[in-house]
């Protein structure tokens, strides 16, 4: 890993002096955001009914209403919240606690292979502990049907270490409302190569660049 990338990762691991910085959006105001990735995702799921769609974000009544309104069966698992469970922590080689991926996947994302037609990953990989990211993606690959789709967001390095965590609410075919959520800390920034490597077992990957600090990715199993 280059020294520049290493420096970026170190920046995003957190600085105690900035740990209490309050993002501007903590007033609770929702931000509206147009999403090309979502547009393609909704176009795909609108072609059929009775699809099984998994939302990996926090429980969103809006998302549930939208997806069930299209005639689909919705599953919800807030993986970031579940990853905070203290019971998952085990000592690493250096003694510091890390979440146990096997325990995490023993309690979460437990489904038969090829269960889902589509998965909304949002930006959970950006906020998830490093020990869980690849195992979670491997599990997603297993539970997604062939030709199933996954929508994920990744912060660019312009986002900054204090990039606020948002809950994503689908309010239209290509529109999202961003609502400030829990105080999760951005763990890393993926570049395009990292993202390609993360999803290397999938059939295809499509990038959508946006004006803000988020890169959207639509992945096909």
């Amino acid at each position: 890993m280059s020294s520049v990338t290493h420096d970026l990762f170190r920046r995003f691991r957190g600085n105690p002096e900035t740990a209490d910085a309050a993002p501007a959006a903590e007033s609770g105001e929702r931000l509206r955001r147009r999403s090309s990735g979502l547009a393609e995702f909704t176009r795909a799921i609108d072609e059929e009914q009775d699809l099984r769609i998994l939302d990996l974000g926090s429980t969103s009544p809006t998302n549930i209403a939208y997806l069930t309104g299209l005639g689909h069966k919705v599953y919800n698992e807030d993986v970031l919240k579940e990853a905070q469970e203290p019971s998952l922590l085990v000592p690493a080689e250096n003694g510091s606690p890390v979440p146990d991926a096997d325990r995490f996947l023993g309690d979460n994302l437990v489904y038969a292979p090829a269960t889902f037609d589509a998965i909304l990953c949002w930006d959970t990989p950006d906020y998830l502990h490093e020990a869980l990211v690849k195992p979670m993606v491997n599990r997603i690959h297993r539970i997604l049907k062939p030709k199933g789709i996954l929508l994920a967001f990744f912060h660019t390095r312009d986002a900054g270490p204090d990039a606020p965590y948002y809950r994503y609410h689908i309010v239209g075919e290509d529109a999202l409302d961003l609502q400030p959520g829990a105080r999760f800390r951005l763990q890393r920034v993926f570049n395009n190569r990292h993202i390609e490597n993360l999803f290397r077992d999938f059939a295809s990957i499509k990038f959508f660049l946006a004006r803000d600090n988020v890169r959207e990715v639509l992945v096909v199993r």
Binding site: E26, G28, R30, R52, S58, T59, P61, T62, I64, A65, T68, G69, K73, V74, Y75, N76, E77, D78, K81, E82, Q179, P180
Partner: protein, 159 residues
């Protein structure tokens, strides 16, 4: 938080299980139930209304006409008419119902399937909305209503 529950001295048709009560096994009945204790097993109230209070802890499958959850449920929930998760609700399990209302703040882990029922020969109500539960600290709260019924009857007028 306002919760509709039977008060002492008032004759109602709602059975009440208090927060100190623990039940293991099958709980069934032919009246509405307000449950604020612990139940492990199954709850069968097919034609009736079940409210799980804020202290309620249910580790059971639930089958009722309407189910309103303020507390914790670990089990599958079948509400033949409606299931409502209040903002303090934590539900882990699968939900099958015609109409679902989820307040912002509720935690849900599982699957949700809305069933469509055959249309009934009764007047349709005016469409209503997503009810706002008010602004809570840190953000807006919302309740989204979803129905598996025909699009014209997606929502119902609150009385």
């Amino acid at each position: 938080m306002e919760i509709s529950r039977p008060s002492e001295g008032v004759r109602t048709e709602v059975a009440h299980i208090g927060k100190s009560v623990v039940v293991k096994g099958e709980l069934s009945g032919s009246e509405d139930l307000y449950l604020d204790g612990e139940v492990e097993g199954s709850i069968e109230l097919r034609q009736h209304h079940l409210t799980i209070g804020p202290h309620g802890k249910v580790r059971a499958s639930v089958n009722a006409r309407d189910v309103v959850v303020h507390g914790q449920v670990n089990g599958n929930v079948h509400g033949s008419e409606r299931v409502e998760l209040k903002k303090s609700a934590v539900l882990t399990g699968d939900i099958v119902t015609q109409r679902i209302v989820i307040e912002d703040g509720a935690v849900f882990k599982g699957s949700l399937e809305t069933q469509r029922e055959a249309p009934r020969p009764e007047p349709r109500h005016e469409a209503v909305e997503t009810a706002a539960a008010g602004r809570a600290s840190g953000g807006l709260t919302e309740a989204a209503t979803v129905s598996g019924a025909a699009p014209e009857a997606l929502v119902e007028q609150k009385k």
